[in-house]
């Protein structure tokens, strides 16, 4: 497999084999657009996101050290202590733990319920963890998250425009970033996991990762297109496409290498006791890494090529290349090198 991928990389590098990312951009854009639309529609159709307790507010109890836990004792314990509270009981860690979520309880009620739960599952006080989360908490995090998001996008856009000396790359990268965020959030919502602060962290990391990946590929594009307007036989779009193809092996390797540890967190988090933070963060990351890598290839790069193709000198160059190519089709190539 290794040698096959190496050979594949060789062919991509020389242009012997090439995927037409730029030329078929209309197709990719339609696919991406459809994905974005679906990602927006799914949560809407499902009636919003399944918000975690941190965003709804409420009380939560976690009981550990139980053997073969059943939800019934917890439900009884809650309803006997606080009759009007609705308990939402989940068995975690393969039956060794119980998680109980209720409406917001008072301090005294919380203590009573914790005691009742300890009794119901025959564990000590020390094995019952309790949390109380005011509804402001989640709202606070959300507000700060959005602030962070805006600040980051603005700074990153400016930074990239300065580094690449063109704001068109910034725009393309930011649009791809938006698509990543929407699709990641949509898929996360579709899976039906609760949206917890951990998930928010994961989605924020996708910001970093998506742009990071785009910068790597764009740097190659910048390199390939730097002199292209003076003496190359490729149209601008073809140069961009070659750069994407040349970095394709890296994109594959990177997405695999970045996704592997995340997948292992996801796996452990899904089965292990109480590792909800890990599970939520890794699901968001797992989706985001895959989406982030491939949005660069299918969305950011073709979009950049499209933005530039309407520029006067680029259009002129492309027309010249095509003219030469048509002429070359009739006669031997080597006489025709000077442009």
């Amino acid at each position: 497999m290794a040698s096959r991928l190496t050979e594949f990389g060789n062919d991509l590098y020389t242009g012997k084999r090439s995927f037409d990312f730029v030329g078929k951009r209309r197709t990719w854009f339609i696919i991406v657009g459809a994905l974005v639309l679906i990602s927006i529609l799914i949560p809407v159709l499902r009636g919003g996101f399944n918000l975690g307790i941190e965003f709804r507010g409420g009380s939560q109890f976690q009981i550990t050290g139980v053997e073969n836990a059943q939800p019934k004792p917890a439900e009884d314990a809650v309803s006997s202590t606080v009759p009007n509270a609705v308990a939402h009981v989940t068995i975690v860690g393969g039956g060794s733990g119980v998680r109980v979520q209720t409406d917001q309880l008072t301090t005294a009620e919380t203590k009573d319920v914790a005691d009742a739960l300890a009794q119901a599952y025959d564990v000590t006080d020390a094995d019952v963890a309790s949390s109380f989360i005011g509804p402001v908490w989640g709202a606070d995090i959300t507000r700060q998250t959005i602030q962070g998001l805006v600040v980051f996008i603005v700074l990153a856009a400016i930074g990239m425009a300065l580094y690449f000396r063109t704001w068109k790359m910034s725009i393309a990268a930011i649009i791809a970033l938006m698509a990543d965020l929407i699709v990641t959030t949509g898929v996360y919502g579709a899976v039906g996991f609760e949206v917890t602060p951990a998930a928010v962290i994961g989605i924020l990391t996708i910001l970093a990762y998506s742009l990071y990946d785009t910068v790597v590929v764009f740097d190659k594009i910048r390199e390939n297109t730097k002199e292209d307007l003076t003496g190359t036989s490729r149209t601008f779009g073809e140069s961009v496409n070659l750069a994407v193809n040349q970095t394709l092996v890296r994109s594959i390797n990177t997405s695999v290498v970045a996704a592997l540890p995340v997948a292992s967190i996801l796996f452990i988090g899904a089965f292990a006791l109480g590792a909800d933070t890990l599970r939520d963060i890794s699901l968001a990351l797992f989706i985001g890494i895959l989406v982030g890598t491939w949005s660069t290839v299918f969305l950011a790069a073709p979009m950049y090529a499209m933005f530039r193709s309407s520029e006067k000198n680029v259009a002129k160059h492309d027309a010249e290349v095509l003219r030469l190519r048509r002429r070359a089709a009739g006669q031997p190539a080597l006489d025709d090198v000077t442009v």
Binding site: T14, A129, V249
Partner: protein
């Protein structure tokens, strides 16, 4: 071709890396020996177990909290927690919120103590009496037949001359006092500082009409409980609270004590009340004129009640009040389980990355693996030192950040290796390929890592709590990643390029030019490129190729390639300069 230069540079880089690692170990050793440090990082609440309470300031709209107020509140809450006997508590600010983290469970008393956000005021007593039973008051007193034609007067007819002037007691106030039900006095029972206040004492035993605030609780510098000593220095066995006022408090209290002592005969007018949260904590009588700012409160105290009152007086004056936004108790078992899951996930993730890179890059993959291990060592040491020096605590979100960083870090190596391979494909010798591939890769790595660092910094500055922990590890590992790739991975590759195994292009090296389809195969032998050269490219490409070749290579290629210019079919441009 200066073959020794890269080697020299490589050695220097590796020495620097060694210095960094040894330095970190030395710092940590010193911390363990002299500074109470440890070889393991401190763990966050979610991994260690404990209680975390997040307090949000109660603000009216348009009001903002200043940093000063917040810091003062933190120190007051810290003193309160410490005085309740809880050790190793951590109180910090996070945005506008205050985060209280305490190992183990929190008993209700401590919790109430932390929450009770209070304003401490000293008011003179005007009227004191036994509380009326609200129920008895309602049922036994005959219904008045003649209702007053107007509401009781609420402004004094004669304006009061001082805080103890009974003219403060208007009919309206008297009415309020008469109907006061002590069980219904809540913490919201406040009056403006310059107005009188009707309230009860803490236990609901006595009700009062108090004059305006005369000394601010914030002027109390210190309050401590102690046994009253006789003039000979012997112990009386009686407990008292010793107060120390600051300059302003000393002056204000001196004035009050002079006036109140003069009213000695007209009890309760000689009493003054410490009002906390709208309730009277204590209302001692003035037994002398105190002008040194160091009054002593005596009475029926035991050690416990004296200490409790002293604490309340000392830490009573919080500049702002708080509500509990979230309160979290994690049991030690749950924390340990979460940490274990994190470590297992990390190890599995690392192994998977190892296997994949070995598969992809053969022996070159070991460079990745060793780089990752070195990165892990530096990260571990940094976190341990930071947790000692800065009090950083590794949380579950932080652990997730570290695991995610494995992938990000490995990507720098992938970017670099792919660039080297690209150079080999162009027909460069290994040593040259490593050098020029590095130049190009480094630019990309810097640019992309800067993006990561920017994200980490923005998140860290803007975010709260767990997001911050995550951003911290993300930023830290990004910096370490760059250090590793510059000071370890590249030097290692420079050195390996000198070895026969790699330079001869052993198929297992991962840098086998043949497998990479290199155009230049060494010894002036050129293979025809597999793809056709696009028109118009050949001239410029060969120009560039010539420019980029070493003298020996150029001569060789001139000899061998006369007549054909198809020496390069790449899209490569000249070097950066």
């Amino acid at each position: 071709m200066a073959t020794s230069t890269p080697v020299k540079k490589a050695r220097r880089s590796l020495i620097w890396l060694g210095v960094i690692i040894v330095g970190l170990i030395a710092i940590n050793t010193a911390a363990v020996l002299f500074g109470g440090g440890s070889w393991t990082p401190k763990l966050g609440l979610d991994l260690e177990g404990g209680t975390q309470i997040i307090l949000a300031p109660k603000l009216e709209t348009g009001q903002t909290v200043t940093d000063d107020q917040l810091n003062q509140a933190v120190s007051i809450i810290r003193q309160r927690v410490d005085s309740s006997g809880v050790s190793e508590s951590e109180i910090s600010t996070s945005g506008n919120n205050i985060v209280v983290a305490i190992p183990g469970k929190l008993d209700n008393d401590t919790k109430n103590r932390i929450q009770s956000s209070a304003k401490l005021e000293l008011r003179p007593v005007l009227v004191a009496g036994a509380p009326t039973d609200a129920a008895a008051n309602g049922s036994t007193s005959p219904t008045p037949t003649a209702t007053p034609s107007e509401a009781p007067r609420s402004t004094p007819t004669v304006s009061p001359t001082n805080g103890s002037d009974l003219n403060w007691v208007t009919p309206a106030l008297q009415d309020q006092y008469d109907n006061l039900d002590c069980s219904k006095v809540s913490t919201t029972n406040v009056a403006p500082a310059e107005e009188p206040l009707v309230t009860c004492d803490d236990g609901g035993q006595v009700k009062y009409i108090l004059g305006p605030v005369e000394v601010d609780g914030a002027d109390i510098k210190d309050a401590s409980a102690g046994v009253i000593q006789t003039s000979q220095g012997g112990s009386t066995g009686q407990w008292a609270i010793n107060l120390v006022f600051n300059d302003k408090g000393t002056k204000d209290f001196g004035d009050v004590s002079q006036r109140l002592y003069g009213l000695k005969s007209q009890s309760p007018l000689d009493q003054f009340a410490f009002v906390l949260d709208g309730k009277v904590l204590s209302a001692p009588a003035m037994n002398g004129v105190i002008t040194d700012g160091k009054p002593q409160i005596t009475g029926n105290f035991d050690q416990k009640s004296a200490q409790a009152l002293a604490d309340q007086l000392k830490f009573g004056a919080l500049p702002i009040s708080f509500t509990v936004q979230s309160s979290d108790t994690i049991t030690a078992t749950l924390g340990a389980a979460q940490l274990q899951s994190g470590i297992i996930a990390g190890i599995i993730g690392l192994l998977l990355v190892f296997i994949y890179t070995l598969f992809q890059y053969r022996l070159l993959g070991t460079v990745t693996i060793i780089s990752l291990v070195v990165a892990a060592i530096i990260t571990y040491l940094s976190i341990t030192i930071l947790s000692w020096y800065q009090g950083y605590r590794l949380s579950l979100a932080g652990v997730a950040g570290l695991i995610v960083a494995i992938g990000f870090t490995a990507d720098s190596f992938i970017v670099y290796f792919e660039r080297v391979r690209d150079e080999l494909r162009d027909g460069r010798g290994l040593v040259g390929a490593v050098e020029s591939g590095w130049k190009r890769a480094l630019r990309t790595i810097y640019a992309s890592k800067a993006t990561n660092l920017l994200a980490a910094i923005v998140l860290f500055v803007v975010a709260v709590g767990s997001v911050q922990g995550f951003a911290f590890t993300l930023g830290l590992t990004t910096v370490i990643d760059v250090i590793i790739v510059v000071l370890f991975t590249h030097p290692m590759l420079q050195l390996l390029a000198q070895t026969k195994f790699f330079s001869s292009g052993n198929p297992w090296s991962g840098l086998d030019p043949t497998a990479l389809g290199a155009v230049y195969r060494g010894r002036a032998e050129f293979r025809k490129p597999s793809a056709s050269v696009p028109v118009g490219k050949a001239a410029s490409a060969s120009r560039e190729a010539a420019k980029r070749q070493t003298i020996a290579e150029r001569k060789a290629s001139e000899l061998a390639a006369v007549g054909t210019q198809k020496t390069s079919d790449t899209s490569k441009k000249g070097e950066e300069n």
